[in-house]
Symmetry: C2
Subunit: 336 residues, 2 copies
């Protein structure tokens, strides 16, 4: 079992929409852990929209991938060999590792996983980076107050679904934009959103928003950009806060996308628009994990993972993010 | 002298760029002050870019003018008849009044003017609303720190010229965009700007900015919008702050102007962009006035007014704002 390994390589920079030609699966040796490391049998790996940015040859917050690099991201798996005192064989851990059957992680860059809370895939979603992004992005940048109307784009995604629920827990009215009736039903029936708009089913986003949020928008948590965001900006209340977490509608754009100018719209409402990266909150990750874990344990915070089966299908799972295939967090199941 | 009065009326809503047909000067009676009021012989009146917004039939922070309304704005003048205990005849006051030879002001809505500090027109500029806008917009929204690079658009205007100087007083490196060599010379030679870019003289704003601010932009105080702002947004440093004070490049646009999308540019630098209205700081106007007056008195804060002579020329002075005719604050001299 441990004799063979497979790893995904980034072999071609995409122009516009990426496709399967950007990826190549190669056989390799199972890597050896150095002192302080653990060898992990990957159970689940994470595909995330931000990875599209790493495919560009542009310096940014996440280091760009060079052609020929191994693809990597969040993983959760079982320690099968430990050169660290922190872990024993059989422990579960999460960290950043290769899209592979096996990967080596520096134990200091991992967090232990309790498989009884939320299940393993949750550590790539609600209990992982997307959950923490939602937590800090909404609470620190969005600053929701009880009674506020909070609008979320990409509301059925890994981050958006958590944002809406935390807003609800904070006494806000929550409206989500998502791309199918199955998604909007999930938002309103299971997650407690007050309203949800299937943007593929309405022509006039602004009118739909006006129906769903007749009092205007106090907080907008944006994962998407594009025409949804254009509509929301017309409905911002005085002192509105906009957290710009993602802009998935534009990640495959070549060149700089254009659209309605938003700065003139900010003056009358004195709105604040702020970009966010979860890494800025690293010193407070413990606080977020504890709170999110508690909400998951009590059932106040629902979560869902879309699972693509098999390491060989990881690129498809990644590409599906841009088609909106996932409900909740998209993960790839690598092994039982 | 006091038998005749003239007042400007708003008689036609402009589409796109306003012209003289929007205005009509009418003879009228000198108004009578009620108890609590003062009758003021106007010395100077203010024309400001925000007034273009009042010409639109759209609810906003400043009440829209109806066709047939008297035009109004900041005035400074001499009390010629007082029905208030706060003022005697011969006192100077500033407040919001008609574009007219005489206007009646409620004494409670005025501030006394010391003609020995800065001169009367300064109370419509550095010691008036534009000065306070610069003060709160830069310090509260821009949050400049010593060593920051602060970029100002419309830098030779009433607000921008004060912003740049306050930034300098706070130990920042200051770069201004303005529209003539006379303006940029004023900024660098008299106001202490570290660099100034005549945007009418350069093709590539981004390259010019890169030369003038090689370390990137920490604070951007935007009075203008359009291509200058597009260039500045490509140079924002991590944790940059953008104060959106005005967007004069777009005030005459019909419909919603389009341009490069800026939200995708905010994520990597985690930049904050915020609209501002000076009225939100009303409870702290005293603090601002005291500080600005002190800086003017000590000569640390320079100011300049562009003066158009004669009430009959007030619309020309207003229209000239959009052509960039003014250096410093544009005022109209109504009487000696």
């Amino acid at each position: 079992m441990r004799d063979s390994n497979r790893e995904w390589y980034f072999v071609e920079r995409p122009e516009g929409e990426p496709d399967l030609d950007c990826f190549e699966l190669r056989e390799s040796e199972v890597p050896e852990p150095d002192p302080g490391d653990v060898l992990v049998r990957v159970r689940y790996l994470s595909v995330d929209p931000y990875m599209r940015g790493r495919m560009r040859d542009v310096e940014s917050y996440a280091e760009p991938w060079d052609v020929g690099d191994t693809l990597e991201g969040g993983v959760v798996g079982e320690v099968v060999e430990s050169e660290s005192e922190r872990y024993d064989e059989g422990d579960f851990v999460t960290g950043n590792g290769a899209w592979a059957d096996y990967c080596v992680l520096d134990a200091d860059d991992t967090a232990p996983v309790d498989p009884d809370v939320g299940g393993l895939p949750a550590y790539l979603g609600v209990l992982g980076m997307p959950g923490r992004t939602a937590y800090f992005g909404l609470l620190d940048v969005g600053e929701p107050k009880p009674g506020d109307t909070v609008v979320v784009s990409g509301a059925a995604g890994a981050v958006g679904s958590v944002v809406g629920q935390i807003a609800s827990l904070n006494g806000c009215r929550v409206v989500g934009f998502a791309g199918s009736d199955e998604k909007t039903d999930w938002l309103t029936e299971d997650l407690g959103f007050d309203a949800a708009i299937n943007y593929k089913d309405v022509d006039d986003y602004r009118a739909a928003l006006d129906d769903a949020a007749p009092g205007g928008v106090d907080v907008y948590f944006d994962n998407v950009g594009g025409p949804i965001t254009d509509a929301v900006f017309t409905e911002l209340n005085v002192d509105a806060r906009v957290a710009v977490c993602g802009q998935i509608a534009h990640y495959n754009d070549e060149g700089v996308p254009t659209g309605p100018r938003k700065l003139p719209q900010l003056i009358a409402p004195r709105a604040k628009v702020q970009g966010l990266l979860v890494g800025d909150y690293a010193t407070r990750f413990g606080q977020a994990s504890e709170q999110l874990g508690e909400w998951v344990a009590t059932g106040e915070l629902h979560h869902r993972e879309s699972i693509v089966d098999g390491l060989e299908n990881a690129p498809d799972a990644f590409l599906g993010l841009f088609a909106g295939d996932n409900i909740g967090k998209q993960v790839v199941k690598v092994s039982e």
